[in-house]
Structure formats: C-alpha cells, structure tokens
C-alpha cells in the first residue's frame, strides 16, 4: 500500500539542489521484500521518490538507484513519465544523494525495476491526476471531460489545451489525491514502458562529460593511494618512507590502521600505509616506493591450489544435509541402470570494473561530505556514522556515475578510507585504487567445488540426484568463522533446483574463507548454474538423448512452485524460453566441421533464461561463434536496455569462462592487472542474439544478472558437442584452450 505525501519544498531543494518552484511530490511506500543480499536497510522502508515540474514545462525526476550501466536512470524515469503523460523531451534526471527518504537504494540483486516500477508509475499517475484537476478547475469544467496527453491537459468537449508548465501554480495548491483514487494505465496504452528509450545520459557518455567518482574535483583537494597488505588482514609492522617522500608531489605519508567492522554489518577498511600527494600519479609513485614490513597474519598460509584440493576432497565425502531433500538417493542409485559422477570447479574471481574503486571525502569537524561511485549509498552513510561518530544527518553521500559496479561498489571500504584520510589531513581527498589494488584486495567471488551424482534407468530417465557443494560464504565477510554456505546462498539455484526429480539430496561442505568474500554479478547462481547445467548435459549424453529434449523432460509437468516471494516459479515459462531459444538458434541443424552447440537454462532473480552457444574448436583452441539468449523477465520496461544488459552478460560470462581466475599463494593474490587477469575483448566477441519473450502482463523481474550464469555451462556443453571432451574446471585459459 502506498501513500503519497507532500514534501516540504525546502527539504526537497536541499536534497536535489533545485532552485525554482514547482509541484513537489514524495511517495512513501511500505517495505519491499528482503532480498538475499545482506544489507543494512531496515525492515520497513520509506521510499520518497520525486517529481519536479517547472513552469517552463521541464520535468526533473530523481533517480534513487545508482547508474552503473544498467540504464536505471532512464528506466525509472520512463515509468514516471509514461503515467504522467509527459513529453519525453522535457524530462531530465537527477541523481539522489544517499538518504533513507528515497527508500532502499541498494542497487543490487537485479531488483530496481522489480521493486520500483509500481511506486514510480503511481507517482507519475498522481501528478497527472493533479494536473487534470488543476486544468478542470481553471476551465471550470468536469475532470471527467479532461484527459492528459503529451505534456498537455485537453478538454475533450472543446478541444481546449493547456500546457503542463502553465498548471504549476494551480496544481501546487491542490491536496494530494487519495492513493485509492489513482488510476494506472493499461498495458496496451503504455507509451514508454515496454518500448525502447535510449539512455538519457548518451550525450555525457559520448563527450567524456559524465562525472564518475574518479572525476570529482573539489578545490584544494589532495589525492591518496594506499599500500595494503598483500595478505588479507595483514597489518603494518614497520615502513621506510625516505624514497617515497622524494617523489615530486608527495606531501604526507602515514599509517592507516585497519577499521574492523562490527559483527554482522559494514565493511570497515583494510588499512595500510597512505601516501598523500597533489596528484594521483605522485600518490601511486610514492606508494610504489614505500618499503613496508608486514605482519602477514594467519592468512599467510593460504594457497588456493591446495584449497581446491581440500574442497574437492570434501565434496567427495558426505557433507551437511541441506533441508529440502526428498526420496532416497542411495536406493535410487542402487536400482539405476547407470550412475554418473562429475566434479566441477570455479576459481575465485574479481569484478574488475573499468573504473577502479575510489572515493572523494571531506571531513570537517562535525560533518562529512562524500562523492563516490557507490551501489549502496545508505550503507556507506551508516558505516561512516558508526566509524567516525558523526550524526548521520551530518553526512552527505553524493552518488556519482559508476564506471561499472558488478557488486564491487556495494562494499564501501573505499569510502571509509577516503574519510579516514580526510579526517587525518584535514583536507578534501580522493582515494584512488590502482588496478593492482583492485585485483589484489577485492571482495572476491568465491571459488567453488561441487560433486554431482545421478542415476538413470533403462529408458534414460533420471532416478536420483545428489549434489555436494562447497564455497566460502559471503557471510564470512560479516561474521567470523562462517565456514559453510548460508541459506540465502544455497537458495540461489541449489535448493530451488527446477527439475522434477524423484530422489533428490543436497549437501553442503565446509569451506573457510581466507580472502574477503563478496558478491559479484549473479553471485552464487554462477556456481549452481555451472554445476547443474553441465551435469544435466552429462546425463543427457549418458541417456543418449538430445540435451534440449532431456531438459524439457526433466522439467516435468507444468507446475507452479510458490516460494516465499510474490514471484512463484512457473516451470512452463522456463520451458518456453528454452523452446524459443532452440528455434532462434536453429538447434539440431547441421553444423560446420569442428563446431558444436551447447545449451543451458536457469532461473535467477525471478527471471527465466535459456542460452545456446555455438563454438568452434580448432587445434584445441575454442572460439565462441554465436550466443542466443531468450529471457522472460515479465514486463520488459525498456527493451533495448534489456538487450544491452543481456549482450553484456554474455560477454561477462565469457570472460569468466575463458579467462577468469584469481589465485593466491602464501596468502597473496598472484594476478596483477589485465595482462594476467584478462577479459573478453572485441576480437573474442561472438554474434549475440537476444530475444525478449513477451510477458507484459506479468510483473517485472531481474535483468542485470540473469544473463550471466548460463554462459559458462552453455560454452562447456558446446565444447563437448564439438569435441566429445568435458570441461569441468574453469577457466579455459588454464586448460590451454584459448
């Protein structure tokens, strides 16, 4: 239930920095459901999203979610504008600061459209209704005889028209209509929703004028780099700064102690040795010239190669039973015609957004101002209040553009660093991570091992399914000694296995964390989809069945599984995207020599995805030729944005399949930069064909992440189709296949 309230104009102007008057509306909406990403948000949220209409007709809409390439500024604005019956050319978008008034701003979990579409639409509809009332009053006619169209209110009987901008004063004097009286448009009347709108930020993106965090410039600001211990949570024992001090531009060098987050929340910061300079390069140079002795601590013994062996051993013996098992796999396997076993591995991964972590902060006695590319500005704000003991209302978080986020910029450690340094040097400062810092001190996507065992009967039907999985938990970053995967993680594809399998058992094995573990685009779905889709393909081969026919058979009768959320799982929709993709990819057609096709399907972030990949394999080298993806994401808010996201997801998925690997030796990350942590480049990019299944009458579901998890298994299944060889351990680079 939502209530609309008038916002004090001075508050509003303070918040978004608008000077002129106009209609101001806030929309307070009750709690959105809790997602699986741990967040600092409270259970009850009070989103306040704003429309600002000026007398010249200009409409400023405030984007409450961070823009990191997913086009959210455009998407959210278009939802308001559609219900508002606005002329798109009058629309501009302003980025919200981090403030609870805007509701949950945590840009994560592919949920912005899912949770904000309706509130946005209601807000647009409310403003439209008020403009109609204002016009009817002005003309002294019945409201029912008036309609709104393209920035005008029109009196149907006389065809009189009045421009939105000319209604500002009358509308501002009106009371907010009751929520129950707000009427929303029908799907078939949408003008922007479900269509294609180009990004509102294209001009800035193509002229280098979009301000990312790293582009923030404050008068008299300093630049800082931090040397952090190569081993996670190691501390400074001693350091020599003579050489670093001689670097021209270096102004100050000091130790920054680690800020340890309290259990259960926040990220704190690693600490290290700080070099402050009058330009970024001098700070980097000074950092390089430091001579530091580290207390490396307990994680020094960590070796990711040995850990892979340990995890493998663990998934090969009985683990902790995960609730949700049914039937009896032991007897099922005993009575099976055939049993198949396989073990799969994914290494640690780093997000490596093109814009490195960075933040600009100004600590002034009793207040803090921050400019930063953050996905979750409210957590950053709460975190600063906690660590620096400044009242939260005195902390301003300005959200800049994000040069990519992928989950890395949900963790505000780099913001805490900037504030701590600013406090110490009593000046505004920008902390910039080098690319090496980013690769070597990240919150890593966990490594995983999984073991699967399946049985099939004489007719090639699956009789039983046993899956054992181990990966360091994200919870370890919030709670020490969390060394088993948590429920919210296993719910990402493992427990909610979509197949109708009679005998099913899932086990979890111990996996301790020796690096900071975080979430990366698609999170645990990357593991679950890789294991499950690879194994279904192996079972299909063992049953001598076509993989797509096998998937469809295994999905069983059409059924609806009601979860705790308002988005029940419909197996029919998953089948539908699979059939659609098979058609568009021309599955089953004769392929050129050395080519192969592989398929994967997955349900994540409440969206249904099927992908088919075509590869060619020549002299053991794999080239991805084509990727076909179909998505059912319910109502498709902005079709081209969705396409763009899925094209990007295909490339992102390729990067982790072909190249992605972070490894640690003696506790330190072995990779440095893009030369040894490579990613997909233009020459590797395949043809990508995206198909959005029409589901306009369903509520919208996730888009940013669902496209990624299917890519790795589809590529590996295609390699099997081309060569008869199974790839069970990523990346292909390690196998000499790229």
């Amino acid at each position: 239930m939502s209530t609309i309230q008038k916002i004090n104009r001075r508050d509003f102007i303070k918040l978004v920095g608008l000077a002129s008057g106009g209609v101001l509306l806030g929309c307070a909406i009750a709690s959105e459901q809790k997602d699986f990403i741990p967040s600092q948000s409270k259970d009850v949220f009070h989103p306040n999203l704003f429309v600002h209409l000026e007398k010249n007709g200009n409409v400023t809409l405030v984007a409450s979610r961070s823009e990191m390439g997913q086009g959210i500024r455009t998407s959210l604005a278009s939802a308001i504008a559609d219900e508002l019956e606005a002329d798109w050319q009058y629309i501009s978008v302003k980025q919200a600061i981090g403030h609870e008034k805007y509701g949950n701003q945590n840009t994560d979990g592919s949920r912005s459209v899912r949770t904000k579409l309706m509130p946005m639409r209601k807000m647009g509809a409310t403003v439209k209704m008020m403009l109609i009332t204002a016009a009817a009053n002005k003309w002294n006619v019945a409201e029912a005889d008036c309609i709104a169209e393209n920035h005008f209110v029109i009196h149907k009987k006389t065809n009189d028209r009045i421009f939105y901008g000319d209604l500002v004063e009358e509308a501002a004097a009106l009371a907010i209509p009751a929520a129950a009286s707000i009427q929303l448009k029908k799907v078939e009347n949408f003008k922007f929703i479900g269509k294609t709108l180009k990004s509102v930020d294209l001009k800035d993106f193509t002229h280098g004028t979009a301000t990312y965090g790293i582009d923030v410039r404050i008068p008299n600001m300093k630049f800082a780099a931090i040397a952090r211990c190569p081993v996670t949570f190691g501390t400074v024992q001693s350091f020599t700064k003579n050489k670093a001090e001689q670097v021209s531009g270096v102004e100050d060098i000091f130790e920054l102690p680690r800020l340890l987050p309290p259990t259960g929340k926040f990220f704190g910061m690693l600490g290290g040795v700080v070099v402050v300079a009058n330009n970024t390069w001098a700070a980097f140079e000074g950092k390089r010239d430091l001579d530091i002795e580290w207390n490396k601590g307990a994680n020094e013994s960590f070796d990711s190669k040995a850990f892979k062996k340990t995890l493998t051993k663990r998934v090969h013996t009985t683990g902790k039973l995960v609730p949700g098992a049914h039937g009896n796999v032991t007897t099922a396997f005993e009575t099976s015609a055939k049993t198949i076993e396989a073990t799969y591995h994914i290494p640690f991964l780093a997000h490596a957004p093109m814009e490195v972590p960075n933040a600009t902060a100004w600590f002034q006695v009793d207040k803090i101002e921050v400019w930063a590319p953050v996905q979750d500005p409210q957590t950053a704000r709460s975190e600063l209040a906690h660590f620096f003991e400044i009242p939260i209302e005195n902390i301003t978080i300005n959200v800049t553009f994000l040069g990519g986020g992928f989950g890395r910029k949900s963790k505000s450690d780099f913001v805490v660093e900037a504030v701590a340094i600013s406090k110490k040097i009593k000046a505004p400062v920008q902390v910039v991570w080098t690319r090496e810092d980013d690769i070597q001190n990240s919150f890593y996507h966990a490594t995983s091992a999984q073991y699967l065992k399946g049985g099939i009967d004489q007719n090639g039907n699956v009789t039983g399914w046993l899956q054992r999985v181990g990966f360091p938990s994200i919870v370890s970053s919030f709670t020490p000694y969390a060394d088993y995967a948590s429920g919210f993680e296993l719910n990402q594809g493992f427990t909610n296995n979509p197949y109708a399998i009679k005998n099913f058992r899932l086990e979890s094995v111990k996996a301790e964390a020796n690096l900071r573990i975080g979430w990366m685009r698609s999170v645990v779905h990357i593991h679950s989809s890789f294991g499950i889709n690879s194994f279904v393909d192996e079972l299909a081969a063992a049953a001598q069945k076509d993989p797509i026919a096998f998937h469809l058979e295994l999905l069983g009768k059409d059924r609806v599984i009601e979860g705790k959320s308002k988005f029940p799982f419909h197996s029919k929709r998953l089948k539908n995207v699979l059939k659609t993709t098979a058609k568009t990819a021309n599955w089953g057609a004769q392929l050129p020599k050395n080519h192969g096709m592989g398929v994967a399907i997955h349900y994540s972030f409440y969206s249904y995805i099927a992908t088919i990949v075509e590869v060619s394999v020549l002299d053991k080298k794999v080239k991805v030729e084509n990727i076909w993806t179909s998505i059912d994401c319910g109502l498709a808010l902005n079709k081209d944005t969705i396409k763009n996201q899925l094209e990007g997801a295909a490339i992102f998925g390729m990067s982790l399949t072909l190249f992605g690997k972070i490894s640690a030796k003696e506790g330190a990350i072995e990779q440095n930069n893009f030369f040894d942590y490579p990613m997909t480049r233009m020459k590797d990019a395949p043809n990508i064909h995206i198909n959005i299944v029409d589901a306009m009458h369903e509520p919208p579901t996730g888009v940013g992440e669902p496209g990624v998890p299917v890519i790795a298994p589809a590529i590996c299944n295609a390699i099997f189709n081309a060569t008869g060889e199974r790839v069970r351990s990523l990346p292909l680079m390690d196998l000499g296949m790229v």
Binding site: I214, F401, G404, E647, G648, F652
Partner: protein, 179 residues
C-alpha cells in the same frame, strides 16, 4: 659570522633545490584540442595524469595504468596513443586530441554511438570513441577484421563490443551517404 654561514647555507640549499626540481620538472604548454594549457609537471609524469589532474580534463580515463585497457586513449599528432604510457616530456609541442575535442569522424561516431545506444556504464567509451576515430582516420571502409584489430586494445567490462562494431560500420555508411 656563524649566522651568515647559516644563511648562506640556506640560500645555497634553496638554490640547489630549485635547480634540481627544474631539471626534474617541466614548465611548458600542452596543446590539447587546439587549445594551449600552461602546465608545470614532473617530466616523468604520464600524460594521462597531466591531462586529468593538472589540466583538469577528466574525459580521458584511468583504467589500468599499464597500456592494457585503452580507457586513456588519446591522439598525439593524429596517432592513437595510450596516455598512461607516454610521458609529458615526450608530447611537448605535439598536438593532443582527447574526447573533449571534436573532429568530423568523432562527430559521426558520436551520432552512431547514440543511435545504437552503445554505452552501458560509459566509462570506457571515451577511449573506444578515440580508438574508433583513429580507425576511421586511417581506413575509409574498415572490415570486421580491421575493426577487431583496431578495437581489441580497448576493454569494455560491460561488454558493448557488438554495438561498437555496428556503430563503426554505421558511421562508415553515414559518411558515404553524406559525401
């Protein structure tokens, strides 16, 4: 007497400091997009940081610092260059062209980039556009292979490659239309 020595020592120290810092620093003008910017920078400073932190043009981006990602691409006397990997001292009296500039090819690319809704986060697009400008400056009608060769030095973590390729082809088509 002692005071005099001390002052003399101080004077000499300051003089030496000035001489040494003069040797290490360069006071010059950078010519960027046809405009002259007086700067004082250490000779060893990569051009990228002089552009961003001293001149204050932030459209040219830092991505890796080691010439691996192309986010910092600029043209120097028309040649595509990664500004993180060339020193300020090496570009004196040369013409630097950045994303803040304008040229016929860049404008056409801007248009097709927008028509194709190419950018996602947008961060790498400055470098992509500069690299594409350089390609069109050099080759009138680039093939897919030409584009792959020219553009593979530029990373895009969002994965906009297929759109970039299309936008380059469209720019070529548009150019030929207008001729």
């Amino acid at each position: 007497m002692r005071k005099l020595y001390r002052e003399l020592f101080l004077e000499i120290s300051i003089y030496l400091y000035l001489v040494v810092s003069k040797l290490l620093k360069v006071k010059t003008n950078l010519s960027i997009n046809g405009k002259s910017y007086p700067i004082q920078a250490p000779k060893k400073m990569p051009l990228l940081w002089a552009i961003r932190d001293i001149v204050g043009l932030t459209g040219t981006k830092f991505g890796c610092g080691v010439g691996q990602c192309g986010a910092c691409s600029v043209l120097i006397n028309g040649n595509l260059t990664k500004s993180c990997s060339i020193l300020v001292a090496d570009v004196i009296e040369k013409e630097i062209f950045t994303i803040e500039g304008t040229s016929e090819n860049l404008e056409i690319l801007r248009q097709t980039w927008s028509d194709g809704n190419v950018p996602q986060c947008g961060y790498c697009q400055s470098g992509q556009l500069i690299a594409a400008t350089s390609l069109l400056d050099a080759i009138e009608k680039p093939t897919d292979k030409d584009i792959d060769d020219a553009m593979s030095a530029n990373l895009c973590r969002c994965g906009t490659y297929t759109r970039i390729k299309k936008a380059i082809h469209k720019a070529v088509a548009l150019k030929n239309e207008t001729v």
